[in-house]
Amino acid sequence: MLTTQQDTLTRDIGRLIEEHGTSRSALIPVLQGIQERYHTISDFAMQTVADKLGIHPVEVYGVVTFYAFLNEGYHGRFVIRLCRTISCDMAGKEAVARQLRNDLGVDFGQTTRDGRFTLEWANCIGMCDQGPAMLVNDQVFTQVTPEKVHDILVACQKVFSAHAPETGEGHAQ
């Protein structure tokens, strides 16, 4: 039987709500689950969550747009967040930023056309003694140099290729 993306999303949201409950306090963990799996929180997802928690969809929208790690726009499979705060700045984050832009062909705030990489700035990620530092999804890289950027991106590509080919759901398992 053919299932649509919306059916899959609705089913996944149902599972997240089973796990976290239907209280208002469950909202953010549920949204984090959607973000992790789908790399975006679509209007449809926001509406579905709102219906299941019995709150207005604008409440959900307000929360999604408030937090840096929740996004209504599509995020790539790998979200690169380069720290721009003072210690990493003094340690040379600008050179790393330039190389990331060059190697990915996108600017900060953008996603590569193949949907694999999103490049973003992060505010202090708590690696001030080992800067410049950046996060790739949940993983942290410290003392990043422009030369290391390429290796990190290649490692990401390998992870991507190692997984199942892109499915109709638009994400690797």
């Binding site: 209280s23 208002r24 306090s25 469950a26 909202l27 953010i28 963990p29 984090q32 307000g62 929360v63 408030f66 937090y67 840096a68 790690f69 929740l70 721009r84 705060t85 003072i86 210690s87 700045d89 003094m90 992060a122 505010n123 202090c124 990620i125 708590g126 690696m127 001030c128 003694d129 080992q130 800067g131 996060l135 949940d138 993983q139 942290v140």
Partner: protein, 395 residues
């Protein structure tokens, strides 16, 4: 290696503090903490014993202990180290606090940027449950049920403010509440809640293990105990250090290898920027209160560039709820850029400083109240490099 000198927490045997606490009654635990003089290590410096006592006395059918691990202040990373190295001691501190105020539930609010720590922390919690250090009848004590769960933050600096953190836990935007009422009365889900920093809770466990008298042997009369400092910037040996409270900035610089510094930001982006002439000042609540962020600026550094970086941070992280912070930070940022370009009149600089003072007084939460600090201290302490700049590369 991040840890640079001997740490108190390394010498605390897990289990000893909790066992000592359970031998006392609840009031006895609070008295021990109060007697130690422990103050909030997040930077605000509220007396922990008083906070626990208020929550213990408050009425509510459920009470909560929240460990604030939303360590977002620029230049601070000691909580990451504590949670990596001594998670048992932190959870023990939470359990002791739970016993003291009569809470059944603890929540560790871990910042989203530290997601990579979560697995290890969950494993630590599971081990503690197996060892009956968490769960029903903790350590066999009938009537004391306490468990801890982890909630992930979502990338918002303001959620380090306790009421914004609670809003976030409740599933709302991280917008600070008016205080009073304080969380000890009306906290998570309207119930009495203690919100303590990671380091505070870890030291609470250390105090129960080693005694309040030991804690008081360190520090000055007014500010007791050790303080963990996160040192970064232009130093030979950046990392996490422990010093007794009351240490001078000059001594800290000597140990970390930053003697030739021209300036030190104590307390991160929301702190104070000291010139070399003030390096004899001391770290402690009576002088330089700090959550532990020490950012060192070497001789060649442009202090206006630092102020610009900090104001970019605040402009981005302001929650937008109150006007002084929402509009004030972008105006100050714009002003710093004018100064860097050498296009700011003395009169306008005066206006900017007045705006900074207004933000300090009129902002709703600590973020807006402290965001002008670095700007104001740079203007005051480094005046010679602020006005009349001619730097074509910034034009």
């Amino acid at each position: 290696m991040t840890i640079r000198n001997a740490m108190t927490l390394a010498s605390v045997e897990p289990g000893v503090g909790l066992a000592a606490a359970l031998k006392k009654d609840r009031a006895g635990v609070i008295a021990e903490i109060r007697d130690s003089g422990l103050k909030g290590r997040g930077g605000a410096g509220f007396a922990t014993g008083i906070k626990w006592n208020l929550a213990a006395a408050a009425r509510g059918e459920r009470k909560y202990i929240i460990c604030n691990a939303d360590e977002g202040e620029p230049g601070t990373f000691k909580d990451r180290v504590i949670l990596s190295e001594w998670p048992d001691i932190v959870f023990e501190g939470m359990t002791i606090a739970g016993y003291a105020i009569g809470a059944a539930e603890g929540i560790l609010y871990l910042r989203g940027e530290y997601t990579y720590l979560r697995k290890q922390l969950e494993r630590c919690l599971a081990k503690r449950r197996d060892a009956k250090l968490l769960g029903t009848a903790v350590c066999g004590r009938q009537g004391f049920d306490f468990d801890i769960r982890i909630r992930m933050g979502c990338g918002a600096y303001v959620c380090g403010e306790e009421t914004a953190l609670i809003e976030s836990l409740e599933g709302h935007r991280g917008e600070a509440r008016n205080r009073p009422p304080f969380p000890v009365n009306t906290g998570f889900n309207g119930m009495p809640t203690v919100v303590n920093n990671v380091e505070t809770l870890a030291f609470a466990a250390a105090i129960l293990a080693k005694g309040a008298a030991w804690f008081k042997t360190l520090g000055t009369g007014k500010t007791t105990g050790p303080k963990m400092l996160s040192i970064s910037g232009d130093v030979a040996r950046p990392g996490v250090y422990e010093f007794p409270m009351g240490v001078t900035v000059a001594d800290v610089l000597k140990v970390a290898g930053g003697e030739n510094a021209k300036a030190v930001a104590v307390g991160g982006a929301s702190g104070y920027c000291l010139p070399a002439s003030e390096f004899n000042r001391v770290i402690g609540y009576e002088d330089l209160a700090t959550g532990g962020s020490i950012i060192v600026f070497g001789p060649g550094r442009d202090m206006l560039a630092a102020a610009e970086n900090f104001l970019e941070f605040f402009t981005d992280e302001s929650c937008g709820q109150c006007t002084p912070c929402r509009y004030g930070n972008p105006r100050l940022l714009e002003g710093v850029r004018l100064l860097r370009q050498g296009r700011c009149s003395t009169a306008y600089l005066k206006d900017l400083c007045a705006l900074g003072e207004t933000m300090r007084m009129a902002s709703k939460c600590g973020l807006g109240q402290s965001s002008p600090n670095v700007f104001l201290s740079v203007v005051k302490n480094f005046r010679s490099e602020v006005l009349g700049r001619t730097s074509p590369e910034h034009a």
